[in-house]
C-alpha cells in the first residue's frame, strides 16, 4: 500500500534530520519572495462580458456535476453567489457601479495566495503551494477539519457537507493537473475576450500596470492580489473600486503564516522553559517543606528539653515549697493552738 510506504518515508523524512537541516532558504534576507517564475492569472473586469464561459469550462474540466440552471442562463447573475462544492469559481454581476457605464463583473474563486492561509492552517499538509503557482489540495490525507475554511481570508474553500463517508474540500486548483500537462487553465482557454490572462505573475503585474497607465480613466489604480495577504497568484484589475465588487480591501498585506508565526514560536519556549521553571518551583516547595519540617522537629526537641528542665526545676521548687508550707502549717497550727488557749483564757477572765 502506498500509504504505509509513504508513512515510513515520512517518518524517515522527519526523523532523518539530514534533509531538514540541509535545505537553505531562497533568499538570504528575512523575506521569502515565493517561487520565481510561478504562474498566475490576471482577471480584468473591464474586459469581462459576463458570459459565464469560464464557469462552464471549469465545470467540464473538473468533471463537476451539471448545474441546476445551464451556464448560458445569465439570469443566474441576478443574485450574487459564492463558491460551493459544485462551482470552484463564479462570476458575479454588479449593476450599481460608479465609474463605468455598464455593469461590471467579478470573478470569485481561489486566488492561490503566494503564502496560502489554507496550507499554513492545514495540520496534515493537504495543501501545497506548487512551484507553478497553483495551490493544490490532496483529498487522500484530508481529515475534514475545515480549519482551512476558517483561515481563508477570501472565504473560498468549500466542503461537501452532504457526504457522509468521504467529504472533501473543494476549491479551484488553477487546473494544476492541466498545467503539468502543459495546458492552460480551463477558464482561461474558454474566455472569449481574454479577460483572463495566463502568464508569469511578474509579467502579469507589469501588464496590469501598463493597462492602468494607458487608461488611467478606466481603471482603478490598484492591482488586487499584488499585495493582499502577502500577494496572490491571481490578480485583478477593475474599473470600479474593488470593495464595490465584493472584494475585501481591508485584508492587509501580512501573509497568513506570519500571523501565527509568533504563537508557534512561543511553543518551544514554553515547552523548553516550563519544565525547568515548574520543577524549580516544585523543588523549592519541597525544600521549604523540608526546612519547615526540620525546624519543627528542632523546635519540638527544644521544647521538649525546655519542658524537661522546667519540669525538673518545678518539681524541686514544688518540693521546696511543700516543705516550706509544711513548716508554715505546723507553725500556724502551733500559733492557732496557742491563740486558742489564750483566747479561752481571756474569756474566762472576762
Amino acid at each position: 500500500m502506498s500509504v504505509s510506504r509513504r508513512k515510513v518515508l515520512v517518518w524517515m523524512g522527519t526523523a532523518g534530520l539530514s534533509t531538514a537541516f540541509g535545505r537553505s532558504a531562497y533568499s538570504a534576507t528575512n523575506h521569502l519572495k515565493g517561487y520565481p517564475d510561478s504562474f498566475g492569472v490576471l482577471y480584468d473586469n473591464m474586459l469581462c462580458i459576463g458570459c459565464r464561459s469560464c464557469e462552464a469550462a471549469c465545470n467540464i474540466v473538473n468533471a463537476l456535476p451539471p448545474p441546476a440552471r445551464p451556464f448560458n442562463d445569465l439570469s443566474v447573475l441576478d443574485s450574487n453567489r459564492r463558491t460551493d462544492p459544485k462551482a470552484f469559481m463564479v462570476i458575479n454581476r454588479y449593476d450599481h457601479v460608479e465609474n463605468t457605464k455598464s455593469p461590471l463583473h467579478q470573478r470569485i474563486g481561489c486566488n492561490h495566495c503566494l503564502e496560502p492561509a489554507c496550507a499554513s492552517s492545514c495540520f496534515v499538509r493537504a495543501y501545497t503551494k506548487t512551484k507553478t503557482g497553483a495551490v493544490s489540495y490532496d483529498a487522500s490525507v484530508c481529515v475534514g477539519c475545515r480549519y482551512c475554511m476558517i483561515a481563508c481570508p477570501f472565504d473560498i474553500p468549500t466542503f461537501e457537507y452532504d457526504k457522509a463517508l468521504a467529504p472533501r474540500i473543494r476549491k479551484c486548483t488553477m487546473c494544476y493537473p492541466r498545467l503539468i500537462e502543459g495546458k492552460l487553465p480551463g477558464c482561461v482557454v474558454a474566455c472569449p475576450t481574454q479577460a483572463l490572462t495566463f502568464g508569469k505573475r511578474t509579467d502579469l503585474i507589469k501588464m496590469a500596470r501598463e493597462r492602468i497607465r494607458k487608461r488611467p480613466d478606466r481603471y482603478v489604480d490598484h492591482i488586487y492580489g499584488q499585495h493582499e495577504m502577502g500577494g496572490t497568484s491571481w490578480l485583478y484589475l477593475s474599473g470600479d473600486p474593488f470593495k464595490e465588487m465584493g472584494m475585501r480591501e481591508d485584508l492587509g498585506i501580512t501573509p497568513a503564516p506570519e500571523m501565527t508565526k509568533r504563537a508557534l514560536g512561543a511553543v518551544p519556549i514554553v515547552a523548553g522553559i516550563w519544565p525547568v521553571l515548574l520543577t524549580g518551583i516544585y523543588a523549592m516547595t519541597k525544600r521549604k517543606e523540608k526546612i519547615a519540617k526540620e525546624e519543627q522537629e528542632k523546635a519540638i526537641a527544644m521544647a521538649l528539653d525546655q519542658a524537661k528542665a522546667e519540669a525538673e526545676s518545678k518539681i524541686a521548687e514544688a518540693l521546696a515549697k511543700a516543705k516550706k508550707e509544711k513548716e508554715a502549717a505546723i507553725e500556724k497550727e502551733v500559733k492557732k493552738a496557742l491563740e486558742k488557749t489564750t483566747g479561752t483564757q481571756a474569756k474566762e477572765d472576762a
Binding site: 462580458i49 458570459c51 469550462a57 445569465l74 492552460l184 482557454v189 474566455c191 472569449p192 501588464m207 501598463e210
Partner: protein, 541 residues
Amino acid sequence: MEMQTLKKIKELTATVMVTALLLIFMFSSSIVDGRQIKSTTEGCCRPDVLIIDSAKIFGDLERQPVLFFHDKHTDALEKKDKDCRTCHLSEKDRLSPKFKRFNDAGRQEVMDIYHSGCMGCHTEMYAEKDKTGPVEICGECHRDKVKVQSSRQPMGFDQSLHFRHLKATGDKCERCHHEYDEKTKKLFYAEGKEGTCRYCHMAEAEKNRIPMRVASHLFCIDCHRKTRASGKAKNKIAGPVKCAGCHDFDKQQLIKKVKDVPRIKRKQPDVVLIRAAGKGTSGKTSGGQMNPVPMDHKAHEKYNDTCRACHHESLDSCSECHTLAGTKEGKDVKLERAMHQIGTTKSCIGCHELRYGDKKCAGCHAFIQNGQKQSKLSCFRCHMESLQPDTEAVQQPEAVASGLLGSRKALAGTYADEDIPEKIIIGELIYEYEPVGFPHKKIIDSLLQNIKDSQLTNYFHSEKGVICQACHHNSPISKKPPRCVSCHGKTFDEANLLRPGLQAAYHRQCMGCHKEMSIEKPKSTECNDCHKATGKSRLYD
C-alpha cells in the same frame, strides 16, 4: 420522597434556564449585526436652504446652525403684503444681504438680532393665528438632525442670458460691468475692459471685493426687484427674485433660451494665430519654434457658453500670461502646457479630447490611447506649415491665420468604395460556431456618417485611412492594412502577453466598440447573434 422529586424538578428547570441563556447568547449573534443600515429616507430637497451660522466668525457655535428656507419666508410675507425690507435693511436704495443689520457687530448682537427678529415675527404671526415657525423651543430651529437637503443648483450667465440682459438694458454694458478705482474708492465703467464677474468676485471676499455670492445677490436681485416695482414688469419680463427662480433645477430649464445669439461685441478677433508672445518675449518669432497655430476664434465662441471656458482668468490673449518659458501671472504654466494639457477644458487638446467620450466617437477612440502619444504627423494638423515667411506672422498674424484656416481641407473621407471590402467572412476559428459575416463597408459608412457634422471631426479625419485606424491599429495608414490574423494568434503568447489572441482580439474589438457606442444588438453574451452554433461542444485544449 415528594420533596426530593420537587427539588429535582427545580434543578431540571435551572438546567433548562442555563441552556436557554446560552442559546440567547448565541442568538444574539444574529441580532448584533455590526453593519450599519444606510438610511434610505433622504428627506425632501429644497433649493432655498440657507444655513444660518453667522455667529461662526466669533468662534464655535453653541448650538446647531439653523436651516432657513428663504422662499418659504418670502412667500409668507408676500401674503401679508410685506416685502424684502421686512427683513433686509436698506441703505442708499440697496438692501443689505444680511438679516436686519448691515454688519456683524458682535456675537451677542447678532444672536439677539436673530432671536428677537425671528421669534418676534413668529410670535406676532402666532398671535394672529397664522401658520408660522417655531416660537419657543430652541431645538425646533437649532435641529440636531438635518432632514432637508439643499438641492440648490449653481447659476451663471450663458450667452443667451447675457444677450437677453444686453437687449433689456439697451446695450448698456455699464449697467453691470464695472471696475474699481482704488483712489476714489468708487466703481466706474471702463469701456473695452469688460470681463466676467468671476474674474474679480471670487468665492471668498478679497481686499476691496465682495464675494461672488454677495455680489450677485446684491446686484441681480436688486435690479430684478426694482424692475418689478417700477411697473415695467407688466410688459417686460423681470428676472427672478426668489431663490428657486435661479437655483432650482426645474426652474432653470424654464429660462428662455435665445437661439443664434449674436456675437458679443468686445472687439475680439475673428481668427487668432497662437504663437509665443507676450511679456518676456521680443514679439518676434525666432527659429527653433513650432509653427504658430491658427485658430478660428469666432467659431469657438459658438462652441462654448461662456468666454471663461478658455479665458479662465481674464479676456487677454493666452500668450499674454502663458509664455514659452512661463510667467508668474500664468502660474508658470508654459504656453505648451496651456495648449496641450490633458484633463482640463482650458487647453486645446484637453477640450478636444473630451469629445472622445461622445458615443459617436468612443467606439474607436476608447481603443486609441489618449494624449500626445499619437503619431507625430498629427502635430502638424494644428501647427500648420505657413506659406508666408515668419515675419509676416509677426506683422499680420490675423491675415496669416485666416490664410492658413482657409487652406484647410475640411471634409472627412476615405478610400474609394471599390477599395473597401463590402463583407468579410471571419472563419479562422470555426469549430463551435460557424463563420461570422462581418459587414465591413456598412460599419465604415456609419462611422463616416457619425463624423460628418462637425468641423473638428471632419478636419481630423480628412486624411484617407484615418478612419480605418481604430480597428487596423498599430500599423501605418494604408489602403491595404494587415489582417487581424497576421498579428493575433493563440490564446497564450508568453512573449506578447499584452497582445490578445485572435479570438479575444475579435471579441474585444467588436464588443468593445459596440459597448462604447451603446449599440444594443448584437448582445455580447448572445453568441448566436453573430455566429450560429455548429452543435459541436467546446474543447478546452
